[in-house]
Amino acid sequence: MKEDISLKVNGKEYHVQVEPDTPLLYVLRNQLELNGPKYGCGLEQCGACMVLMDGKADPSCKIPVSEVVNKEITTLEGLISENGELHPLQEAFVEEQAAQCGFCLNGMLISGAWLLQENSNPNREAINEKLKRVLCRCGTHTRIIKAIKTAAKSKQL
């Protein structure tokens, strides 16, 4: 049975009609038409679907939408400030050209943003730890590590 559910995503309040056990990812992509979070496995194994929930990066592909109604959800789109300014990590990914196919970027950026919030000067171990859930098959890791370090150095943080 479908239910009315309200969600707080990227600072806005949304009302959707869905079955309460629908994974958050499907609501974000299909009802809210957001493209940042991606479907990669639906098993919480690859990180393609990462979002920030109350500031912490977590997969959105399994958690039922009814369980996140009280959380502040931020997607990749929400990392951009209202005046259109990119998050320093988004800037750094462009600067380092840290993408091949780019399919993993959502998970990398969301996890990286969370990391930088907790640790303004992360070393390789810290990066490995906070990004361990996110897979990249193209092998862009070295550039992603550089982008995180570049963002950490930028003054805006």
């Binding site: 639906g42 990914f93 050209q97 780019g102 098959r137 862009t140 890791h141 590590i145």
Partner: protein
């Protein structure tokens, strides 16, 4: 047949491939050139069009697969037209407007496609100058192009491309021999122009086929059989039927569609649980081994027979095994299809829109002219993965449920367990040194399944065909040439005998990045180290002694230089390897530093040097090469597709793990630019040598050779 209809300039704004919410459904098949291929006869307008706002749109039949081809093509066109690269729009594969370039594969994209664009742009530049000279009676040598304008050197004349052409595209045929810009004058080509699509990716803008949305679009899933050749015996739909879904069943093909994606997913789960299948063939679980594969082979082809191979008790030998490896895209395959008024339209991340169209016409009994396929990027694919299969399944669902857009998303288990893998292979080497300390005899045997079952018009190559037609799955023979790719060493060796043996193995296979070259190079390059040891020589010096091509020597020396000063702990080793991809494409040398602790190998750092001839975008080349090194390291250390008696059991990232952050080596790549040489394919150059460098490093660290992959399953200390 081409019409002689004049092609007017009318498109003002760039239409991103199908991303508008209400796409234009008008069929543009009037002028369709079907799959005749790009011949010498292609017109300039087939490759590039002048837009009325001064920009230029370039068409390429290639797909963006994450290799940055868009920017490379834009750079080449910008250079010839003397334009800011931002004024160039690149439109990729689509069966109605872009040239039929076959497949985006074999690292040919830059080498071939960009060269065609270069010629067309150079021809356009010459015609723009000639027409201006004629029309305004100005000497051609006094004219030049700049950012969409034709200008006179004295500054008196300026007119836009659009005005010069009177609003008509350039219809002339691209001449076979055309003067292109001289390389000393290059301003854009050879520089690291940033890819524009990365800016879109970081913003989460819609750009993948997975992001397409159409009005009233339905979500679909396909129900997987128990095995490749399974037959449906019990169709138990009671549980699935209770959901808000429509079940589509044709013979043994079962799909579900729904307005709600999660409902479709649940229905798939129920149907896969409730339906019963009969499986005929048992997969060889216990028996599966190198010997088993060798015994399967029925056909042998001699690849090289040079001099007279004769061993006199002084040879060394080695045997290698490489398991099935998967493409394992991060984003599972996806396609959207609609069947309306007898016409089928598909959005797909296929590597070849034209071959797919031909094959779908065969599967669905449609005329090719009634099928339109638009290429839209997907997740990186690294060869022939399930892109064509999912498009075929979406097409079936669309035909069975017309008038609606249907988006079919494969699940992780679909992708892992049903994509066509890179074949398992067995390699055996024997070699001996002459009295001069150089290699005298070389014998190599390789056993492999095919390395390409791309749908070149034969529906049997598409996964759903046998289920949909109710026939038994017949796995196609495919292309065997990939098995011996790079099986001939690039070194000077007087006596050589190389044979390839073909088998049809238990799992579905097709092209995976570098085909058989990965295995052949890893065997050759590990064996070179063994022979160097036997000769008592430094492995790099030993290779240099056997190389004649200066460019080959240069990449090896470069890597040696890059690793000077690398310090090694007791448990660490440094290994080197080299190859020239296909013996005719890019030169690549690599070093790997590994550490071996508690019977576990980790790759700490890798260094690569690549020579791909003329470089269009050095940063793109580096990016691809870095990625190839990391991907190859993951294959080599830990990847192997597992199966049980019924089917593949590697169904997710836990049963088929790939490298995560903690596993990856930090990689460094240097490129050697050869502006006067031809641009060479580069995307696959790193796969084989990277694997060999790792094997060689393991030996240097432990004194023991590991020749059966994956390394971490077979290493013992």
């Amino acid at each position: 047949m081409k019409t002689t209809r004049r092609n007017f300039i009318k498109n003002t704004s760039y239409v991103a491939i199908g991303f508008s919410l209400v796409p234009n459904l008008a069929w543009i098949s009037v002028n369709e050139q079907s799959s005749q291929g790009v011949t010498q006869q292609s017109r300039i307008t087939d490759w590039l069009q002048i837009l009325d706002d001064g920009r230029v749109r370039v068409f390429s039949g290639k797909m963006e697969l994450g290799q940055g081809i868009r920017i490379a093509i834009a750079q080449v066109a910008a250079e010839e037209l003397n334009m800011n690269v931002d004024f160039i729009e690149v439109k990729l594969a689509e069966t109605s407007t872009t040239p039929n370039e076959g497949y985006t594969a074999g690292s040919q994209s830059v080498a071939r496609s960009a060269m065609s664009v270069r010629k067309a742009a150079a021809a356009a530049a010459a015609i723009l100058i000639a027409r201006t000279a004629e029309k305004y009676e100005i000497k051609a040598e006094n004219l030049y192009l700049k950012d969409g304008m034709v200008l006179s050197k004295d500054g008196d004349f300026r007119a836009s491309f659009f005005n010069i052409l009177d609003g008509v595209q350039i219809e002339e045929v691209v001449p076979e021999n055309i003067q292109t810009k001289s390389k000393e004058d290059y301003e854009v080509v050879g520089t690291p122009v940033a890819r524009k699509d990365i800016g879109e990716m970081v913003r989460g803008l819609p750009m993948y086929v997975q992001d397409l949305r159409f009005p009233g679009m339905l979500y679909a899933r396909v129900v997987r059989a128990a095995a490749y050749d399974a037959k449906l015996t019990e169709f138990n739909k009671e549980n699935a039927e209770k959901l808000d879904v429509k079940i589509i069943k044709v013979k043994d093909f079962i799909g579900v569609i729904s307005e709600d994606e999660y409902q479709a997913e649940k229905a798939k789960i129920f149907l896969e649980r409730d339906c019963k299948w009969d499986t005929e063939t048992e997969l060889p679980v216990e028996e599966f081994s190198a010997e088993y594969l060798k015994n399967l082979s029925k056909e042998t082809e001699n690849v090289v027979n040079k001099g007279n191979v004769a061993f006199k008790n002084n040879s060394i030998s080695a045997k290698y095994f490489k398991p099935y490896v998967m493409h394992a895209a991060v984003g599972p395959s996806c396609a959207i299809a609609i069947f309306k008024e007898e016409k089928l339209e598909i959005w797909s991340h296929t590597q070849g829109v034209y071959p797919l169209r031909k094959t779908l016409a065969d599967l669905l009994n449609l005329n090719e002219e009634n099928i339109k396929i638009t290429g839209v990027p997907g997740s990186g694919c690294y060869g022939h993965n399930a892109a064509d299969d999912v498009a075929a399944e979406a097409a079936i669902l669309a035909v069975e449920n017309p008038e609606k857009y249907i988006k079919l998303q494969w699940t992780r288990a679909d992708e892992h367990a049903w994509e066509p893998y890179g074949s398992a292979m067995v390699m055996e080497m024997e070699g001996s040194l002459g009295t001069n300390g150089k290699i005298e005899n070389w014998k190599y045997n390789v056993w492999s399944d095919t390395h390409s079952t791309r749908p070149g018009g034969d529906k049997q190559n598409l996964l759903p065909s046998s289920f949909y037609n109710g026939t038994t799955a017949k796995r196609p023979k495919g292309y065997f040439g990939g098995a011996y790719r790079n099986s001939e060493p690039y070194y000077k060796i007087p006596n050589q005998k190389i044979d390839a043996h073909y088998f049809k193995g238990p799992l579905r296979v097709s092209a995976l990045r570098s085909l058989g070259a990965y295995s052949n190079i890893l065997a050759i390059e590990n064996f070179m180290d063994r022979l160097a040891d036997k000769a008592g020589e430094d492995p790099v010096a030993f290779r240099l002694k056997h190389l004649e091509d200066q460019r080959a020597k240069d990449v090896l020396k470069k890597v040696k230089e890059m690793t000077l000063g690398v310090e090694l702990l007791e448990s660490e080793g440094l290994g080197f390897a080299f190859s020239r991809y296909k013996n005719s494409a890019s030169y690549f040398a690599v070093a790997a530093k590994v550490s071996v602790e508690n019977a576990k190998v980790s790759v700490k750092e890798m260094w690569g040097a690549i020579d791909s001839g003329e470089i269009i975008n050095p940063d793109g080349l580096k990016n691809q090469t870095e990625g190839g090194m990391i991907q190859s390291a993951s294959w080599t250390l830990q990847e192997a597709v597992k199966f049980d008696q019924t089917h593949v059991s590697s169904t997710n990232w836990e049963s088929y793990p790939i490298f995560r952050f903690a596993d990856i080596p930090f990689v460094h790549v240097e490129v050697i630019d050869r502006p006067d040489e031809d641009a060479l394919g580069a995307g696959e150059a790193a796969q084989g040598p990277s694997a060999a460098a790792i094997l060689n490093a393991v030996y240097r660290a432990t004194g023991k050779q590991v020749a059966f992959l994956p390394v971490n399953k077979n290493v013992s200390v």
